[in-house]
């Protein structure tokens, strides 16, 4: 279900451009509004749909579940921590879905740039960057060098 933009609703803020993992949301050169430059390459992650503060990005549903004349729209409500979807079919039927986005308050997760830059020696560690702090635990179980195959550490 590739995404597309309602040009009259878009205000050209660039959030979708920033968030698109496929780098296919871009700004057009005539109106400075966002558009999907290559729907075939859309991963259908809907990051742009959810990130759009103007609700200007919509989804083209697959014919199997939403034949022509349908609409699939999403409303993200950060303050409630919910994301809602509405599928309207051409015969007037409507399906609504509401899901929680997350279990922590909006804005409470630290950005990677807020963490200290890892030391190059950390490459020899068995832990990923910022573990175990980022996991909110004291320590992770780790193998000692004698428990590993020779040459691994």
């Amino acid at each position: 279900m590739p995404t597309f933009v309602y040009m009259t609703s878009c205000d050209g803020c660039g959030h979708c451009v920033d968030i698109c993992p496929s780098d296919i949301m871009h700004i057009d050169t005539t109106y400075r509004r966002a558009f999907n430059i290559e729907p075939n390459f859309c991963w259908e992650c809907y990051s742009c749909v959810k990130a759009c503060p103007q609700n200007a990005i919509d989804v083209r549903g697959y014919a199997e579940f939403a034949p022509m004349g349908h609409s699939v729209r999403v409303l993200r409500e950060e303050e409630k921590g919910t994301i809602s979807w509405t599928v309207k079919f051409r015969d007037g039927r409507e399906k609504n879905f509401v899901s929680p986005i997350r279990t922590t308050p909006w804005g409470s997760i630290k950005s990677p740039s807020d963490y200290q830059v890892p030391n190059p020696d950390a490459l020899n560690s068995q832990e990923l960057a910022h573990e175990p702090d980022a996991l909110n635990i004291d320590a992770l179980p780790a193998l000692t060098p004698d428990q590993l195959k020779q040459g691994v550490v």
């Binding site: 803020c13 400075r32 609700n55 609409s71 809602s84 399906k95 609504n96």
Partner: protein, 262 residues
């Protein structure tokens, strides 16, 4: 410079009637360009089709009084305070540019039509407002151009890459900047440089008002209409097909019946 009417200063070399005719031609270009834009892009047809669709899908009728209330809300929130912007910096830059442009254009028209010569002394507030308006356009416009513009901020393109979407902001900034330089040179004594900057100022201004069918100038008429439409759709229950607020979902979850095991 700040309290001297630059248009009255050049009335000896350029008759006021020519300046007034130029202003009228610019107003006609704005009106004609906007109408051409509406017809060429079928904006009005799209707007009214969309309006009818939203009305058909609505769950309730919006009465005349409520419509007036929505129009006032649109004028106050989206019109006067640029409330549609989610980015605070963009909003401030837009407000600076919008109010600066209004002050600059209105005072230009007043000075050209009512105080065109030194024989009709200009109240000091008018050239002062003209200068402040032009400076506000420059502050908001250059801030937007160099730092906030999405082509630069999100797309990572060069600040100096020019595309058609830049026609409005570039012609506006060039026109206002040249106007300020011309007024400065004119007040400082005039001469050849004043004529050069006046010529460039008029050229940039003509491009600004004459390029409406190709530029984003007419967004100042379209955006309030789109904002009003959005509010009406919210009020009549069609909500642009968006889901209702999550407080009272009709169905929570994906299916009401138990899933089957195949």
């Amino acid at each position: 410079m700040f309290t001297s009417n630059p248009f009255a200063d050049i009335s000896a070399s350029i008759p006021p009637t020519i300046m007034q005719t130029y202003v009228v031609v610019m107003i006609l270009l704005v009106a004609g360009g906007t109408l051409f834009d509406i017809v060429h892009k079928k904006s009005a047809r799209y707007f009214f089709n969309h309006w009818q669709n939203a009305k058909d899908k609505g769950t309730r009728q919006v009465g005349g009084g409520e419509m007036v209330s929505l129009a006032i809300q649109t004028a106050l929130v989206e019109g006067v305070t640029s409330g549609e912007f989610c980015n605070a910096q963009r909003r401030i830059a837009h407000l600076l540019t919008m109010y600066g442009f209004l002050a600059y254009v209105i005072t230009t028209a007043i000075m050209v039509f009512w105080y065109p010569t030194p024989a009709t002394p200009t109240p000091e507030i008018l050239p002062l407002l003209w200068t402040i308006g032009a400076l506000m356009v420059c502050v908001g416009g250059y801030w937007f151009w160099f730092f906030i513009r999405v082509d630069v901020a999100a797309e990572g393109n060069s600040t100096f890459r020019l595309v058609r979407a830049d026609l409005f902001i570039v012609s506006l900034l060039v026109s206002v900047t040249l106007g300020l330089i011309w007024a400065l040179v004119q007040t400082a004594g005039g001469g050849t440089w004043a004529n050069v900057f006046l010529g460039l100022y008029l050229l940039a201004t003509t491009v600004l008002f004459g390029s409406i069918p190709w530029s984003k100038f007419s967004h100042m008429f379209f955006k309030p209409a789109a904002a009003f439409q959005k509010r009406v759709e919210q009020a009549n229950g069609s909500r642009r097909n968006l889901p209702p607020p999550a407080d009272s979902p009709k169905i929570y979850g994906s299916v009401q019946r138990q899933p089957q095991n195949y």
